[in-house]
């Protein structure tokens, strides 16, 4: 297995994630797209870690997983708060703030 294969997989996942954040209008789908980007980073980190022969990459990936869990917890809480007030999690409907 070459390092390139993992990097290309990571880059593909990253691009899919970015596309999802930009194109999706559903708040939860956007959250999932962000998770996808974070997981592409994890693939990169683990691949580089294995390539360099150090455990740093794997350890960093664990940190990323933990932080992503905390982040998505807060994100879902905010989505829920908005849904309770408006019964919609459509990003386009969030247009109170304009100037």
């Amino acid at each position: 297995m070459w390092l390139n294969q993992f990097l290309i997989l990571g880059a593909l996942l990253f691009c899919i994630g970015v596309y999802g954040v930009l194109a999706r209008r559903n708040g939860v789908m956007v959250l999932m797209s962000i998770e996808l980007i974070l997981n592409s980073v994890n693939i990169n980190l683990v691949a580089f870690g294995a390539f360099n022969g150090t455990p740093v990459g794997q350890v960093f990936a664990l940190f990323v997983i933990a932080v992503a869990a905390a982040e998505v917890g807060v994100g879902l809480a905010i989505v829920l708060l908005i849904y309770r007030n408006r019964t919609s999690i459509d990003l386009d409907a969030a247009d109170l703030l304009k100037g």
Partner: protein, 529 residues
């Protein structure tokens, strides 16, 4: 073979029932981590105490928050003398397996963050009671976020930098959405969260690429690797990584073209929280930016400098030009904070110790003046933050002259009028640019300051010359339209008075702060291993 031999030797030894394995842990300098611990641990105690204590006196949580941040700042100041006094002290050093730096730079940012928390807490006290949201959460989250900022400013490892960034950001997402009855607040929190998490993901991807290119996450090792071999294996990988890092930082510090969230979030989020965003989050963001680009990637300055200069120009002009078109004061201040980020980016872009010192001075001065500015906005906006238009400030100079006068000082400071701290902040940055040979960049910065002046002066005019400019009140019957006087809680008045006095004192005696900022910077540039 040797492994087998050692195994055999072990097997030959008598088996001891209790085996203790000695794990080598990195040495931890607890004294150096003290300001961080003093911010994070009491914040959690405060949160738990709030669920146990049934009745506390009014303003207990704000007092506790101010006390905690004040204690942390006091210990940071004690450290200051230890790390900057090269004769008597031990000088700057790293701890926890060289993942955490304690140097003049990180200590300076720690104090700036603590002051940001103190000002925001004082403003939040009256605000939360007015909005019926009183409780410990806001203060605990402010303190936790500041602890993340301290980690970010002290990080000597990309992992630690990322953890600091997240601990800084996640509480602020919650804070932005913390007004449960204002839809705008939740929308602001949601937008801030989506774009902040998106930026963190870019940042993280950049870290992964830099790690891949250099084989290390330690900033000192990265710097050493790049110095030894500038054409390090995978130069493209490194540059791509640096570009992604810059995107991540750009979002955090609100640089054009990554600024789209700023006006919406500033308008929707509770004003005391915005005060912290503009002073605290910006300070931590720039601390990380300077450490990663000006220090770690100092050898690659030819590669990243043009991009940062471009960002600075876009941010300077975009921020001040867009601010002119705003009618909502919070949106206007959002764009003005973008233009201030442009000045700070100029300090980063020149990549010199003077530039870094100017950034530090700017962050300290701007943190104080924006804290006071949002104190006024909080008071004037009234219940539910309804009155945030420029109209709300019309005639304030006649109704409440002292409030208007204090606000005017803060606005003049943001404009960069001499004898205020803002003048020396802008002066320092522009001087660093000129010293570095960036004459045209200095000219752009001054142009932005001139355009920005219109924005601040428009508010001053609205406060003091209402009859002259408002056609709706042209019939002379202005008094009839006079709104109720602005309520000024004691804590908010204290915050406003303190920031105004500090702005003026630094304006008259800039040496107090410039010397400190100057001491803070060369240390960090010299000492990364």
């Amino acid at each position: 073979m040797s492994l087998l031999a050692s195994l055999a030797a072990q097997a030959a030894q008598p088996v001891t029932p209790v085996t203790s394995v000695l794990v080598e842990t990195p040495s931890v300098d607890w004294w150096g981590l003290l300001p961080l611990i003093l911010l994070a641990a009491p914040a959690m105690v405060l949160l738990h105490a709030s669920s146990l204590l049934r009745r506390v006196f009014r303003g207990f949580y704000a007092t506790a928050s101010v006390g905690i941040a004040g204690t942390a700042a006091a210990f940071a100041i004690v450290q200051w003398f230890r790390v900057t006094d090269l004769d008597g002290g031990r000088g700057p050093y790293t701890t926890v397996a060289s993942a955490y730096t304690v140097d003049g730079y990180s200590v300076f940012i720690t104090v700036v963050l603590c002051v940001a928390v103190i000002v925001s807490s004082l403003v939040a006290d009256g605000y939360l009671r007015r909005e019926g949201l009183d409780g410990a959460e806001t203060y605990a989250l402010l303190l936790l976020s500041a602890s993340g900022g301290v980690v970010m400013a002290s990080a000597n490892d990309l992992i630690v930098l990322f953890l600091g960034l997240e601990v800084l950001s996640i509480p602020v997402y919650v804070l932005a959405a913390s007004h449960l009855r204002r839809s705008a607040s939740q929308e602001a929190g949601f937008k801030y969260f989506i774009l902040g998490a998106f930026a963190s993901a870019f940042f993280l991807y950049g870290i992964a690429l830099v790690y891949g290119a250099t084989g290390s996450t330690n900033l000192g090792t990265i710097r050493q690797t790049l110095q030894d071999d500038p054409f390090v294996d995978g130069g493209a990988l490194l540059l791509a990584g640096a570009a992604f890092l810059l995107v991540g930082f750009g979002f955090k510090v609100a640089a054009v073209p990554f600024h789209a969230w700023t006006p919406d979030v500033y308008q929707g989020a509770p004003s005391p929280v915005v005060s912290y965003m503009a002073s605290g989050v910006k300070a931590a963001g720039f601390a990380g930016l300077v450490r990663v680009f000006d220090v770690t990637l100092a050898g690659q300055v030819r590669d990243w400098q043009p991009i940062v200069v471009g960002l600075a120009v876009l941010t300077l002009l975009g921020g001040s030009v867009l601010a002119v078109a705003q009618t909502d004061v919070k949106r206007m201040l959002a764009y003005s904070s973008i233009s201030h980020a442009g000045f700070l980016l100029v300090g980063v872009a020149v990549a010199s110790p003077e530039g870094a010192a100017a950034v530090l001075f700017y962050l300290a001065a701007y943190g104080l003046m924006i804290g006071g500015t949002f104190a006024v906005v909080t008071a004037v906006a009234g219940p539910g933050e309804q009155a945030t238009g420029i109209d709300a400030f019309r005639g304030l100079g006649r109704r409440q002259p002292m409030l208007a006068l204090g606000f005017t000082v803060l606005l003049f400071a943001q404009t960069g009028v001499p004898l205020t701290s803002g003048f020396f902040a802008k002066f320092g940055v522009i001087k660093a640019a000129v010293d570095g040979g960036w004459y045209w960049l200095a000219a752009v910065a001054m142009l932005s300051a001139v355009v920005g002046a219109f924005v601040y002066l428009r508010l001053v005019v609205a406060m003091f010359m209402v009859e002259d400019i408002d056609p709706h009140h042209g019939d002379g019957d202005v008094v009839a339209a006079t709104p109720a006087p602005v309520a000024m809680p004691a804590a908010l008045t204290l915050a406003l008075a303190a920031t105004v006095v500090a702005t003026l004192v630094v304006g008259f005696l800039p040496g107090l702060l410039t010397d400190l900022a100057g001491d803070a910077v060369p240390v960090v540039l010299a000492t990364l291993p």
